[in-house]
């Protein structure tokens, strides 16, 4: 504790003294509150306290402000967001809880309070333990085994639903089932689904459902707190579900936590709607498959016919009408004849020309033609004279003209042409 200097004041009364004679320190309020805080925090530290919640307020900041009380007494409390976000239940007035926290002083107001770090409903511990034990026991009996789980029927005709007749769960399930699979029949087996008396009622309802002989069963309820679901952790309920003669889906409306019913059923759905979707999922798949097969069947027969048609058409092309063949030949014959005739004519023409040409050549080369131009043929006896070397002076030669002939004597040889 700190000693303070003595404040002076015009109005101060005589300063008190302690029995030891020294002057008592006069503190400020702030100082006092701080001392109180340090004292309390130092002395008490971490405490566990049980009480009933009251004046509970969850502030928009996320922090919880409340009082913890018992029959005679109460204390202010706060649980900050960092801690309270881990709570698995929703605190409310009247709930009996156990807190672990630190007592502290809120100095500005001189209030002391407990700052809770954990909070648990009373009995939660015991309940949790019982849950774990039952889970272990049933698991060891093999009731959770994957090999026990049955698949849902592909096209269920009759579904029994064990749930409350009021509320969203049944309404949602009916909507999903009737929308996806028009031909399904639904029988609701009503029961209560929370509270102390629920478990035996659920068991009875399940047994009734079994007697109806449906193709599949959904048992469940809508959302709520862990306490609300607790009837689905009951051992008899679990064993009854395990004994279902047909596939059974547990839909206990709690997204993350599992109840024993969830473990022991053939299938578990996080919500009732999801359970209904599972039941009709196979139907939707089958409808799609059927639609696809219809298309493929039609397509393959169309393709087949197209191929056959093509085959027939190609045969038809190759088949020629016999009359046409005949006409073709006749036309060809005519064509050939014409061409032959034309060729012959041309050939004859050509030959004629050739002959004429030769004729005229012959003509111009004919000696008779030559002599008509003035040339003469000189002969000595039978010998035709081409050169003067064949002659000597005094020879007698005959000269043939174009017209007529005469005899001449060689008087003189003039030129030896070409010498």
């Amino acid at each position: 504790m700190q000693e303070q200097g003595v404040p002076t004041s015009a109005n101060s009364a005589q300063l008190p003294t302690t029995s030891e004679g020294s002057e008592a320190a006069v503190l400020t309020v702030e100082q006092l509150n701080r001392q109180i805080r340090q004292l309390i925090e130092g002395e008490l530290g971490l405490v566990w306290v049980q009480g009933e919640l009251s004046n509970f307020k969850a502030h928009t900041s996320g922090h919880f402000y409340f009082s913890l009380k018992d029959a005679k007494s109460q204390i202010s409390a706060v649980m900050f967001r960092g801690h309270n976000s881990r709570l698995k239940f929703k605190p409310h007035d009247g709930l009996e809880v156990i807190l672990r926290g630190r007592v502290t002083v809120y100095e500005p107001r001189g209030n002391y309070q407990i700052v809770a770090e954990t909070m648990e409903p009373v009995g939660a511990g015991a309940l949790q333990k019982a849950f774990e034990q039952l889970k272990e026991k049933l698991k060891n009996e093999g009731l959770f085994d994957a090999s026990r789980k049955r698949a849902l029927p592909a096209l269920p005709k009759h579904i029994a639903i064990v749930t409350s007749p009021t509320g969203a769960a049944i309404r949602d399930m009916i909507n999903v089932l009737s929308r996806r699979n028009k031909s399904v029949q639904i029988t609701l087996v009503p029961t209560i689904v929370q509270g102390e008396a629920a478990a035996p009622k659920i068991v009875e309802a399940l047994k009734q459902a079994y007697r109806l002989g449906p193709d599949a069963i959904i048992v469940g309820r809508g959302g709520g707190s862990i306490e609300d679901m607790w009837c689905f952790n009951d051992e008899t309920v679990a064993r009854t579900i395990a004994a279902s003669p047909v596939p059974i889906i547990s839909a206990v409306g709690h997204e993350i936590d599992f109840t024993i019913a969830d473990f022991v059923a053939d299938l578990r759905a996080p919500t009732p709607s999801a359970a209904a979707e599972l039941v009709v999922k196979n139907t939707a798949d089958l409808v799609n498959r059927l639609g696809a097969l219809d298309k493929m069947l039609l397509f393959s027969i169309q393709k087949f016919f197209k191929l056959e048609m093509q085959k027939i058409q190609s045969f038809a092309k190759r088949l020629v009408d016999p009359k046409k063949r005949l006409f073709d030949l006749m036309q060809r014959n005519d064509e050939m004849t014409t061409r032959l005739t034309q060729s012959m004519a041309r050939l004859i023409d050509r030959k004629k020309k050739e002959v004429a040409h030769l004729g005229s050549m012959m003509d111009s080369l004919s000696p008779l033609k030559v002599v008509e131009r003035g040339y003469s043929v000189t002969r000595k006896g039978a010998e035709v004279i081409k050169s003067v070397s064949q002659l000597k002076v005094g020879d007698s030669v005959s000269v043939r003209l174009a017209q007529g002939e005469f005899v001449a004597n060689v008087e003189k040889i003039i030129d030896r042409v070409g010498e």
Binding site: L155, I174, N181, S183, I186, L286, L293, M296, L297, K303
Partner: protein
């Protein structure tokens, strides 16, 4: 033949036809069978409207006593 078996046979038929090495008569026969199966499957899927009943009790012989159930909106 139950629904799934019918669907399975239909699948078989389609596969055979797609392979394409069938004679005309066989193709037609398979096609006919396929159409028949498909019709039966469609009928099964569209049978009746959904009926919702609420169980009132089971009588002595185990027969269900029910009434029509309508959800309150």
């Amino acid at each position: 033949m139950d629904f799934e078996k019918k669907l399975g046979r239909l699948e078989e038929i389609v596969q055979k036809m797609e392979k394409g090495d069938l004679a005309l008569e066989e193709s037609l026969k398979l096609f006919e069978e396929g159409v028949k199966l498909s019709r039966e499957c469609h009928t099964r899927l569209n049978e009746a409207e959904t009926k919702v009943k609420k169980l009132i009790s089971l009588d002595a012989s185990g027969k269900a006593v029910t009434e029509d159930f309508a959800t309150e909106e």
